[in-house]
């Protein structure tokens, strides 16, 4: 019995969230996109995504704060966080905390490969 993994894309730029969502779909993820940090935090109380694609510069609540909350929540212990940011310094500083830290621009091939690697082992792949 296979289950489609869930990817939550938290990105305030709609163009990028579209690209990331499309790419992850290609990588056989169910996707959900949120542009607001506060909304994202609230949403994370109800869902358990397998992968979170996280921008750092977000309205209301920063990506860094969201990462901290995820890491502090036992429920989300299996959730893999992939930081995708334009801020090289921030990417660098959070790379140990996150599972992956990517500096924009991110190639869809790279994202696809990495997301595939982060998929939980019990999920099916295409």
């Amino acid at each position: 019995m296979s289950k489609t993994p869930l990817a939550l894309i938290i990105e305030d730029d709609p163009k990028l969230s579209t690209i990331f969502a499309e790419t992850l779909k290609l990588a056989e993820f169910k996707t959900e996109t949120i542009a607001d940090g506060q909304v994202a935090l609230e949403r994370l109380t109800t869902i358990v995504p397998d992968v979170v694609v996280l921008d750092l510069h977000l309205p209301h609540v920063s990506g860094r704060e969201i990462l901290h909350q995820i890491r502090a929540d036992d429920r989300l212990a299996q959730t893999r966080v992939m930081i995708v940011t334009a801020d090289a310094a921030m990417a660098d500083s959070l790379k140990d905390e996150a599972d992956l830290s990517l500096l924009k621009p991110v190639s869809i091939h790279q994202l696809h490969d990495l997301a595939t690697r982060l998929r939980p082992p019990d999920t099916t792949s295409a």
Binding site: D13, K15, F20, E22, A86, K104, P105, I108
Partner: protein
């Protein structure tokens, strides 16, 4: 017989007598016992013997009793030995008793009588002997008395003593011849005159004499006694009372002695007066101390006479001469003959010194030797002598000084015609080159020559004529014709009477000095010109900070407003305290110093002055300061401009870094959108693409990649510029790193038909401890560059380890190469070799610059070898960091 006599006619003790009785009785008993039967009755007669003996021995009544007992005993014997009967008892016993009793009693009586007579005869004999002895003794006494009398007579006759013997009533019994001779009265005349009245006519006086005689208190007393011929003589008397109340008066005529004493007294008086009044000191010294010192001595030494008498001769002698005096004094007293006269110093009680002349001799005082010293105070003489000596020494010294003086000294005699030289010292001879003999007798003018200033000559002549001093410098000529400048001073010398006796000239050759002065003047002119023309203000400041000198005028101030005024008055108020502190400190420490002040300049501008302080020292003391104030306004402005420019540049640099970071950040998001959509298009997410469309999408992706690379490089450069890139050392596997690089870069190489090979030498450690990300960047850059500039051939990456301290990355290509002139600039930012190449191989021009900076950041270096058209070799040398054992790979 004699023995018998001695036994029987001497009084024996009772023991002896008892023994005789017992002995006689025993003899009788023996005879009786032996001879009774033969003799018989005849024995009765025999009993008479023991009875007689006992009676004699016992005497008187005791003899009678002893005879009776012996009779009884005889009777007993008859009974006992003969056994006679009662018939015989009467016939035999009675005769025994009668014979015994009568014999004993008679014998005893006779004995008593005998002894009585004998005692009487002894008494008479003793008395006769006593009388005889008394007669002998009296005769001897008489002889002795006569002898003594003779002695006394002789003594009284021949002793030079007047002796009078008189009884308790005062009657004269005897007068000695000396008395008769002295007083003129004889013993025979005493019956006619009253000797006392004759000798002492004054009753009161006489009474005193009589009282003295009666007192007889055995002491000598002097009286004035009149002789028979009515002379008054001095006598002295001594009275002794004898046991019978008579008196002996003993006297002496002491008239001569008195006279002698008087003479002596007068003599002594004279001597004392002399000694007391004379100015010469007289001392008598005996044993260890003075016994006399006259007032002159007390004056000389300042001690009183009583003080002196407790002192020693050498106590008043100066320590310099104490030993000498002690030695001579002792020697003289011991019979030696040291010099009798000498000059020594006395040390006064006050500590002053007096020179004295001492004449010593020996005298006898109280039977012992004493030293008599006559002392003359010669202090004044000594002082005069010393003064003379000092003058003599001074003269000698002066003479020597004149001889030794380096100045020429001459003496001329104006009393002689033409005022000739009479003395020149060696220095003057040396100065002129003439000898002493050549100069003596000449007038000084012979030293003058053709160039000697006539005015100066006239001045000198006039001064000599007017007999006054003159000081001048004149050109003279040496013996060898050489001219010299003579600085001379000629002074007239007058006698006490005011007569001109000499002219004394003192000359110095000042040729060198004049030359030096000229040189100094020129030098001074040079410096003065330098100082006066200096644009700086040069002050000389006194210790009270007043201005002593200023090199040129200060605009707007007269010199009078500056010279003599405290320099700080001209310093703007804000700087006055600073200036004063610096100036005062320089005066105190003597150290050079400098400070800056701002003063208002013309037209309301501000002028910066740098002020330097240089102390002028004299004998270690700062006597003045040289203060040099330089206008450094231009320099200050330059500095300000420079500082401003630097700040601006730094700010610009900071802004550039910030801008780059910002730009990089802001570009990434749209770049991601472009790249993302292009890739999605290329992927066919939005439907299949035509070839043209596909080509266009590829162009979009390439451009985006280029832009991304550009942004990355700009960001790296910005971070390097801002110093934000820090070393991040981790431990990693060498082969994995190279594999990753190979994988990524091969795609690009293969796309151009190039071969990329990586080789890791065996010498390389498996694990490295370094900044993995930086090394990766360096490799990406170098390999990327190589791919970019290589059209065909291969790219080789070699990694090897030359030694334990460093390792090497080598990237070789077979590309275009770099022309030699560009090699030195290749690592500079924004440099690319060729414009045409740049256009073809677009790039930021930052890559190699970043590689170099990263290499250097890691403590390494990068070099390049290249041949244009043949390819390049980039070599990166990196330090080998030791691997921490605890670190996990």
């Amino acid at each position: 017989m004699l023995l018998l006599h001695s036994y029987f006619f001497k009084e024996h003790p009772i023991t002896v007598r008892s023994s005789l009785i017992v002995g006689a009785t025993l003899v009788y008993l023996l005879i009786f016992s032996l001879f009774y039967h033969n003799v018989g009755d005849g024995l009765t007669a025999l009993a008479i013997f023991p009875a007689l003996i006992s009676g004699w021995l016992l005497g008187g009544r005791l003899g009678l009793v002893a005879g009776f007992i012996i009779g009884l005993l005889n009777i007993g014997l008859y009974f006992f030995v003969g056994g006679a009967g009662s018939a015989d008892i009467l016939g035999r016993s009675l005769p025994s008793l009668i014979v015994g009793t009568i014999g004993g009693g008679l014998s005893g009586w006779l004995r008593d009588q005998f002894y009585q007579l004998k005692r009487q005869a002894d008494t008479v004999t003793q008395e006769r002997d006593i009388v005889r002895a008394e007669i002998v003794q009296r005769r001897q006494t008489e002889i002795e008395l006569r002898h003594q009398e003779e002695i006394l007579q002789q003594l009284s006759d021949h002793l030079p003593l007047m002796i009078a013997f008189y009884d308790s009533t005062g009657k004269v019994l005897f007068l000695s011849r000396e008395l008769e001779r002295t007083l003129g009265w004889s013993m025979a005349e005493l019956n006619e005159i009253d000797l006392m009245a004759e000798c002492y006519p004054d009753p009161t006086y006489r009474q005193k004499v009589i009282e003295f005689m009666i007192a007889a208190n055995e002491e000598w007393r002097d009286f004035e006694t009149r002789t028979k011929d009515e002379r008054l003589i001095d006598t002295t008397w001594f009275n002794v009372r004898l046991s019978d109340g008579s008196n002996i008066g003993i006297g002496q005529d002491i008239t001569h002695r008195k006279q002698a004493e008087e003479i002596l007294r007068e003599s002594e008086e004279k001597f004392r007066t002399l000694a007391q009044t004379m100015t010469a000191g007289i001392l008598i010294h005996q044993g260890q101390q003075f016994i006399y010192a006259n007032p002159a001595v007390t004056m000389m030494v300042g001690y009183s006479q009583s003080e002196l008498l407790g002192m020693n001769f050498w106590d008043i002698v100066h320590p310099d001469h104490q030993a000498l005096v002690r030695e001579r004094c002792t020697a003289r007293l011991q019979g030696g003959t040291p010099p009798a006269k000498y000059e020594i110093k006395f040390l006064k009680k006050s500590g002053d010194i007096r020179w004295v002349h001492v004449t010593t001799g020996l005298i006898k005082y109280k039977g012992q030797l004493a030293v008599l010293a006559t002392v003359f105070d010669i202090t004044d003489r000594k002082a005069a002598e010393m003064q003379l000596q000092t003058i003599a020494t001074e003269n000698l010294r002066l003479a020597r000084a004149v001889d030794a003086a380096t100045d020429g000294i001459s003496i001329s005699d104006p009393k002689q015609p033409d005022n000739p030289l009479i003395y020149v010292n060696p220095a003057f001879c040396q100065m002129t080159g003439y000898s002493f003999d050549e100069m003596i007798g000449q007038n000084c003018r012979f030293l003058q020559g053709e160039d000697t200033d006539p005015d100066t000559i006239a001045q000198v002549r006039q001064a000599v004529e007017e007999r006054r001093e003159i000081q001048t410098t004149i050109l003279n000529y040496r013996r060898d014709g050489q001219p010299f400048w003579n600085e001379m001073r000629i002074a007239p010398i007058f006698s006490e009477e005011g007569e001109l006796v000499y002219f004394v000239g003192i000359q110095s050759d000042v040729t060198h000095r004049r030359q030096a002065e000229a040189k100094l003047r020129r030098s001074e002119e040079k410096w003065r010109s330098l100082v006066e023309n200096s644009p700086d203000f040069i002050f000389i400041i006194n210790p009270d900070l007043t201005v002593q000198f200023l090199n040129h005028k200060v605009p707007g101030l007269s010199m009078a407003e500056i010279i003599g005024i405290d320099i700080t008055h001209h310093v703007p108020p804000d700087y006055q305290e600073t200036a004063r502190n610096h100036l005062e400190r320089a005066f105190q420490t003597g150290e050079a110093d400098n400070f800056e002040i701002v003063a208002p300049g013309p037209n309301g501008t501000m002028v910066w002055y740098q002020t330097r302080l240089g102390p002028i020292k004299h004998q270690g003391q700062v006597t003045a300061l040289i203060v040099v104030s330089t206008d450094i306004t231009e320099q200050k402005r330059g500095e300000e401009t420079l500082a401003y420019a630097r700040d601006q540049a730094m700010e610009a640099s900071r802004l550039k870094s910030e801008l780059l970071a910002k730009v990089s950040h802001e570009l990434r998001t749209p770049l991601n959108a472009i790249l993302g959509f292009a890739e999605l298009l290329d992927f066919g997410l939005y439907g299949p693409l035509t070839d043209n469309q596909k080509n266009a999408v590829t162009q979009v992706m390439e451009s985006t990649n280029y832009l991304t690379k550009l942004v990355n490089e700009l960001l790296d450069q910005a971070r390097l510029d801002a110093g934000h890139i820090k070393l991040n050392l981790t431990t990693f596997q060498t082969d994995l790193l190279l594999e990753e690089v190979q994988t990524k870069m091969s795609v690009l190489a293969e796309a151009k038909g190039l071969q990329l090979t990586t080789k890791i030498a065996e010498t390389m450690p498996d694990v490295l401890h370094s900044d993995r990300q930086n090394i990766q960047k360096i490799l990406f850059n170098l390999i990327g560059n190589a791919i970019k500039f290589t059209e065909q051939g291969e790219i080789q990456v070699n990694v090897y380890c030359a030694d334990a301290k460093q390792w090497t990355i080598e990237v070789r290509d077979t590309g275009a190469g770099i022309p030699e002139h560009a090699l030195s600039k290749i690592f500079e930012p924004f440099q690319q070799v060729d414009g045409s190449l740049t256009r073809k191989h677009s790039g930021s021009g930052l890559g190699l610059s970043i590689v170099k900076q990263l290499t250097e950041l890691m403590g390494g270096c990068i070099t390049v070898e290249s041949k244009f058209g043949q390819g390049s070799i980039f070599t990166v040398l990196l330090p080998m960091h030791p691997i921490m054992e605890t670190e996990n790979v």
